[in-house]
Symmetry: C2
Subunit: 336 residues, 2 copies
């Protein structure tokens, strides 16, 4: 039995893919050969790994039987086209696109529902959920026994980096133009993003919900194994480069013991609880970190059955790439 | 009976006071003599009114019997020191500080509870609520008959201008420093405000609630005449210069008819409803406007008894100064 496995990362040139490769190296994941893949437009460039530049090749031409595990971090279309081809060739899949059906590729956040992994048989497909789902699941999981949870209400203030490098450049460019009193010409965003808030991320459906909002509700219910949990959600775009933030209200059917909540958050894996009176910020705390920061833990204003929290996490790292690597670490014994 | 009244504006050099003077001029409010007042630090400067620069004098030395109405826009301490002195001298008071007790100075938003004004006898004291209360009350008022309202959950993303000119300069300065890769030195804010979100505006109490959050709950219950309405609130500071935004979820005991909600919002005074699929932004819509912009009107994701809204309004203008002037317009017949 080999002590390392051969791996493919699809979407290696994107923000999540590149961070994923970096985390695999940082955590010394036992990789034999690493294959970096991307769509034809991005192939040809290279990504650093263990002091070398690894050439990125076209996913279309890749023979998945050469690897035991593939991370899909290139978006829904690529996952829908190639994930089955991978498993047909005996290669297991960790998918970050949200495109694979839950029946085939269950959504898993190690801190919340790692037990689901025990049921997988290789070559398996497993989904690493959206950054919002991951962040919320990490924090809700240790609280479920302490609440008779009736409803989650949340406003997610998302960083522009979730939309890729172009969005990051555009926020910087717009900001510089405004500070220099030059006329603003929105390109990537359809209006002024600098010093502004956009109340909708992506196109809404007939009912007014965006794909992100529906994905969060669907995934969170699945990860928390609460298929009919009421979740009120609004995702907005904030003029922040990296790090998502969440204003969360949990309604319980009975009074909530804050001391127990704080103790549970203090003990739980994947969480850094900031001290009472203080609060974490995306820029000052979350960015580059492996944990979800939690602060402003409090009841409602005269409502003891309400729990309010403020969460912030690195959307690219903790929200996406690290969760996928954590899944791989839990699954590797089945793949070696 | 005179066709004009003499007026004092206290806090005339602040962002709200200056806007208030501007709105009095724009709306041709029938003013005999306008007295501009401020604390000793700000006295001596001047503020433009009808083509002239009006000198700002010290409030300590002012004889309130010279005016029939005084707007207090200088903060809680000044209102607590001088509002009674004004009414004792026969001068009615419109207070924007939130410091006067509700029994003496009821909170009023013309679009929501103008009927309260009928009970006032001069010299009266009336409160113009916080920008958040004003904005929410304008929008909730026309919906109350269409909902069996159980709870309001909201995250308010506040502009830095609510904290005055220093906060505005600091956001600009911090942003320029970061774009020029110079070391960041927070002064007004205790940490990086540019490209960041601060989850707490002001110091929290023992329970973790800020004054702003408690004020909003208290005032909104009063204006809506719903003393035990459940209101979940988090106020955060966004890197936005002007214009507050609100992500709002309303829970009703029964199914909500969206067509009726939209029709009511369309007809209501003080509201601009943007078309379905679009959304308003603070910078692009609200700033400088006399209405609250409403968008993203939708049910919950598979919850028809939930109503979600996105609101944005000019916090200085619609949220504060204009509301006070609207109150004066409704009350002037009693003062002439």
């Amino acid at each position: 039995m080999s002590q390392s496995i051969d791996i493919a990362v699809i979407g290696a040139t994107g923000t999540v893919g590149e961070t994923l490769v970096q985390i695999l190296e940082e955590r010394d994941f036992p990789i034999g050969t690493l294959h970096l893949l991307a769509s034809s437009e991005s192939a040809g460039s290279s990504v650093p790994y263990r002091g070398k530049n690894v050439r990125v090749r076209e996913v279309d031409e890749f023979d998945f039987s050469k690897v035991q595990l593939a991370f899909f971090a290139a978006g829904p279309a690529v996952s829908l086209s190639f994930a089955s081809r991978a498993t047909d060739a005996g290669c297991s899949v960790i998918d970050l696109s949200g495109a694979l059906p839950a029946e085939k590729a269950p959504q898993v956040v190690p801190e919340a529902n790692a037990q689901v992994l025990a049921g997988l048989k290789k070559p398996f497909q497993v989904s690493s959920p959206s950054p919002s789902t991951t962040t919320l699941a990490v924090v809700l999981a240790p609280l479920m026994d302490l609440l008779d949870l009736q409803r989650v209400s949340l406003t997610a203030s998302l960083a522009v980096s979730a939309q890729g490098r172009e969005a990051v450049s555009e926020l910087a460019r717009q900001t510089a133009e405004l500070l220099n009193v030059r006329p603003l010409e929105p390109k990537f965003f359809d209006r002024q993003m600098a010093f502004n808030l956009l109340a909708q991320v992506g196109k809404p459906d007939e009912q007014g919900h965006t794909l992100l909002e529906k994905r969060l509700v669907r995934e969170l219910r699945q990860v928390m194994a609460r298929p009919s949990l009421k979740i009120s959600v609004t995702c907005i775009q904030a003029p922040v480069f990296f790090g998502d933030s969440y204003s969360v209200t949990l309604q319980s059917a009975s009074e909530i013991d804050l001391a127990k909540i704080n103790a549970a958050l203090e003990d739980a894996p994947g969480i850094e609880l900031v001290e009472a009176g203080d609060y974490p910020t995306p820029v000052g705390d979350a960015v580059g970190q492996d944990v979800v920061y939690v602060g402003r833990v409090r009841h409602g204003v005269d409502d003891l059955s309400e729990l309010n929290l403020w969460l912030t996490s690195d959307n690219v790292r903790k929200g996406a790439a690290l969760n996928a690597v954590q899944l791989a670490e839990l699954l590797i014994k089945d793949l070696l």
